[in-house]
Symmetry: C3
Subunit: 164 residues, 3 copies
């Protein structure tokens, strides 16, 4: 191999590796934008993070399509949570990128101000699986599945899939 060919190969490899690193950071930015947007009650900012045909499957309800997810932000009970004081938090996210798709796994917390005390209560602790897709040059959530960690097998199965 000539020197130039070897050099171009190193350059190409660097570009490929850097793209993977950037993808991981970009996905992290999408996922960490969700909590602030949903606690702000900013339906437009929430909507931006999902594909048009996204599905958000929480155990208690399934939202189909970006519009349904935005509608959830604008309405009750979500607006009640915000007014009473709430925080939607994640813990550090495990991200696996595979070309133009990615899977992210983590826990989520829904904390709510406890009326009549000066503290918050931990209302929901859930297992989460996000399936993301690169579309139009940016990453968006195509599916989020959340299951309450109350001992049910489904939540455990969801978490076990992170390692595979």
């Amino acid at each position: 191999m000539t020197d130039t060919a070897a050099l171009l190969e190193r350059l190409q490899l660097l570009e490929d590796r850097l793209r993977l690193v950037e993808d991981t950071q970009a996905i992290h930015a999408v996922l960490t934008a969700y909590g602030p947007a949903v606690d702000a009650g900013d339906a437009d900012a929430v909507g931006e993070l999902w594909t048009q045909d996204a599905v958000y499957d929480v155990d208690v309800r399934v939202m189909e399509g970006r519009d349904a997810i935005m509608e959830m932000v604008r309405t009750r009970p979500h607006q009640d949570y915000i007014e009473g004081g709430c925080g939607h938090l994640l813990d550090p996210v495990h991200i696996r990128v595979d070309g133009d798709t990615a899977v992210a796994t983590c826990h989520s917390l829904l904390l709510r101000r406890d009326a009549g005390s000066d503290s918050f209560r931990v209302w929901r602790v859930s297992a989460n699986r996000f399936e993301l897709v690169r579309a139009g040059g940016r990453w968006r959530i195509r599916r989020r599945t959340s299951r309450l960690l109350d001992g049910r097998t489904e939540a455990r199965d969801l978490l076990a899939r992170a390692a595979r």
Copy 2:
């Protein structure tokens, strides 16, 4: 364009992209150093993370200048929290870098050991906005604004700004 010019352009682009990725990691390292330092009661380590003229605006008080922030670590009520058992935690941080400044948004938790039980209580859940600056080759916090998520508009507004 000659081959060499094209190659130098690719190299320059790689360097610029990598710098942005490194900046994001460096800012993450500054923000994740805060919790351990403040729960250790290590005022010097806390001070290192802020600019000399930094402002830390929590709803219940405003600290102006690095010295005031370090003084907070050394005194009550902070020392009482540490002795009773406490944890200052963040959730995953949304980071936007713009040249030599950056904005980071996340939730924070202040957990305190509940005397008389074997558990902790979630005492404060707050919205946080960090404004950072690159100075002397490293990132430091120039301003942190925290607002309790108890339903107040101010906390929601702060979170909404993450998306913009």
Copy 3:
């Protein structure tokens, strides 16, 4: 220096910087795989994250070797926590890489479903120090030390070491 030598030097520098960024992401991926695996009760997935001779030193017990850590996942009381509903969470991790070793510092939470209520309680809030090593081309945990944040000096000392 010839043009080629200068160019090769830039390329080498890029490769070195990128490797550090990738190492930080890879370590983050190892640490964020732990919580999902342990809450799934997946002893094999948990075991993969540790070196064969790893030590997991929690205040209430010390596990020596990967097999002992996997045994913990398979047995009580851990299996009881899972069945009753639990979440093992971290907060964002401070990572320092030094060649083929690394130190990671963060808080951890053990949340448990509160029988007889519709909420969870914050059972343990701990200070954590992970010592990792690159072996066989991947990062693994060689030692994890956890100390309950109940005011004890040991937990504070562990956190203070993050900054050094």
